[in-house]
Symmetry: C2
Subunit: 413 residues, 2 copies
């Protein structure tokens, strides 16, 4: 009998941690669990863990890669502008009644890469519009929610094309389990510790009230002004229903909002960017007063140019995030083609939309107030990696004082 | 390489027939496809067939037996009176906008047999209440809908406990494919022929305007009065959205409403009744003026008594259905533990609720009008088999004339 590629006991722990730490699911609380069919072994464990924790009704909403592909392969052209709004309206109703939400990712991140891009874009747009009532309750943080990952074989083979299905799956499983901090015997305690460490970082950064961060390293000399009244976030945080959850598992970053008009200098990406099925390699970008005035790449440059031409805000930054080089995902050296992992592998910045919660009292601010404080707005939000073990970062105080933040890719404090 | 237990080409045909004949799915029409995860191979084929037929969006809503069991095994007691009404409200919205509905059955019919019966009953009741807005649009026939079957391995092993998983699945697959009339090369044409044959039967029966049917056979001498203005139905029929569909695949029966107060004599069941995980064997029942005045069984008699004691209507008949002994399901000699099949294996009667559509202009009748015409009402509707190759049935005209309907289990006309 061959060894199963995904260790069942560790998968049990991941389910346990997802319910207890990712969600902190409350007794009597319903749970909507979206997942790909490939993740069924984790879906079943999460359902059991949720019921043991006193869940009301757990409702899995399973998507299937083959069914999704069937639409693009056989669907009639005139139907690509529609979406199942009835399902999303139902979800919005459930969140309105305090159901928690967990999403499992696990499908091939490049699933639609070979489908007709125009149809994918039309269906995506129709879906975004239909999903808005439900998504807004998640992004407003009305309820506790989380995203976790399952080592689907198609995803694994995308990452490790030279390995057998079993070997690739085993390797992705190891990487996900390590990144999700469930390899130890008391994963819940480890997560409590990890959340406390992230909280200490955000507290320190918020106390510093830096005016800007300056990045120096090979090909990089970049000063990122921070937005007025910016606030650093990271790890666990409290939803409006009073439950403290971890919206992403794994999570390594602490992040805040840069000032859309106060970014100057040049930055070199340290990892390729996987964007909509394409790889963009060796990005270099120069900013002047917040605007990217030049952008080059050794591979996929035309996709990069198309991306920053999306709208005016696509040339400006909406997020700055700090992740030490020694973080488990970074240490794995892997490219996951999935933001949940890749953005937690390295210090990163994002072109496009900012997070309103990354302001003091962000929930109460209007869009105009956010813009006035330097918050960027755009239809896109695309993270890319600028961290490495050669990057130093200094915090610049309003009086010009420099405070070491990162040295050689690690926290300096 | 071993032969796969379910022939892929025949499964393709089943998907095709389900979409074209079961639903007659219309271009641009959305489809809600409920199914157990075990039926994924059929789900994928139906999605592809639906998209080829011009479907809008196909949304599978997959249930999972393990997730369902997890609730009964681990769920806290106080949560068994709740249901995911958000999902059913969403479905009702979709049906209100003319989405079609297909259900696939395929799970072990005895799945919940070993779970706490009280919890199963509470959850079932909560679910029925929550599902009502969606179900009423189906039972009112607002939209085209159908139910088809997939040979799930757990179901197969319940039917063939002595066979290996693969052999049991292969045997159930053969039985489902034969019963669903998809073993030939032009299954759509075969279904059109079958529907025409059923239509000829219902037309003849409706023209006869029988006052009653008299059944004679071993242990059986039963006269079933038919309701005033009863109407026979069977096979394809037209939904209120104008689409003609086959709500059940397979379907062999023609059926109508008996008179709740004009049933007299004794009847012996010809097959065991599988009811809520229990088998009730060798039922004998005597009726006087419509009411079951004695009921015995050689096995599970206490369950039979509990059943007919549910409410006043549970002791009276709500359906009478005619199925020739030579129908493919009957010929298989199998007990499927699933009404979709077992009720199409044999002439049957049902204790409990009648169908309002089995009256002339039934859609316009009030509950009081239905009761006045002899239609029964009850919380239950339980079919049981009374047909065999030894049963004769005569139609009795209002003037007492006898017309042979069945001889030795087959149509006499
Ligand atoms: Zn980030
Ligand atoms: Zn980001
Ligand atoms: Zn029937
Ligand atoms: Zn029935």
């Amino acid at each position: 009998m061959s060894k199963t590629p995904i260790d069942p006991a560790t998968l049990d722990r991941l389910a346990e941690v997802a319910v207890k730490v990712g969600l902190d699911l409350q007794p009597g609380q319903d749970l909507i669990l979206t997942a790909p069919t490939t993740a069924l072994p984790l879906v079943r464990r999460i359902a059991a863990a949720a019921y043991r924790a006193g869940a009301g009704v757990v409702t899995p909403i399973l998507s299937d890669a083959e069914v999704t592909l069937a639409r693009y392969r056989h669907g009639h052209d005139e139907t690509f502008d529609t979406a199942p709004s009835w399902l999303y309206n139902g979800m919005a109703e459930a969140y309105g009644k305090n159901a928690a939400r967990m999403a499992i990712v696990g499908d091939d991140p490049m699933l639609l890469a070979e489908m007709d891009a125009a149809k994918v874009a039309r269906a995506g747009k129709a879906n975004s519009i239909a999903y808005k009532p439900a998504l807004s309750k998640i992004s407003n943080f009305d309820i506790n929610w989380t995203i976790v990952a399952y080592p689907g074989t198609e995803w694994a083979q995308r990452m490790f094309p030279d390995l057998s299905a079993d070997d690739a799956t085993a390797k992705l499983a190891d990487a996900i389990f390590a990144a999700s901090r469930v390899t130890g015997t008391d994963a819940v305690a480890e997560w409590q510790q990890h959340n406390a460490a992230l909280r200490a970082r955000t507290r320190w950064l918020n106390d510093q009230r830096f005016d800007a961060l300056r990045y120096t390293g090979p090909g990089t000399d970049l000063t990122i002004g921070l937005a007025d009244d910016h606030e650093w976030h990271g790890g666990a945080s409290e939803a409006r229903n009073g439950v403290t959850c971890n919206p992403n598992m794994p999570t390594e970053e602490v992040f805040t909002t840069p000032h859309a008009h106060r970014v100057n200098g040049t930055v070199r990406a340290t990892k390729p960017l996987a964007h909509q099925g394409n790889l963009i390699e060796n990005i270099e970008m120069t900013f002047k007063d917040g605007r990217a005035v030049s952008a080059t790449a050794s591979g996929g440059e035309e996709n990069l140019i198309k991306l920053i031409d999306t709208d005016e805000g696509a040339r400006r930054l909406g997020e700055v995030a700090l992740v030490p080089h020694s973080s488990p995902i970074s240490a794995s050296g892997l490219l996951f083609y999935n933001t949940l992992f890749d953005e937690n592998a390295s210090c990163h910045i994002a072109l496009g939309q900012c997070y309103s919660k990354c302001f003091l009292d962000g929930a109460t601010l209007s869009e105009a107030e956010i813009a006035e404080k330097g918050g960027n707005s755009s239809m896109i939000h695309v993270d890319w990696m600028i961290g490495s073990d050669e990057i130093d970062i200094d915090g610049i105080k309003p009086d010009g004082t420099l405070v070491p933040v990162f040295r050689k890719g690690e926290w300096a404090q």
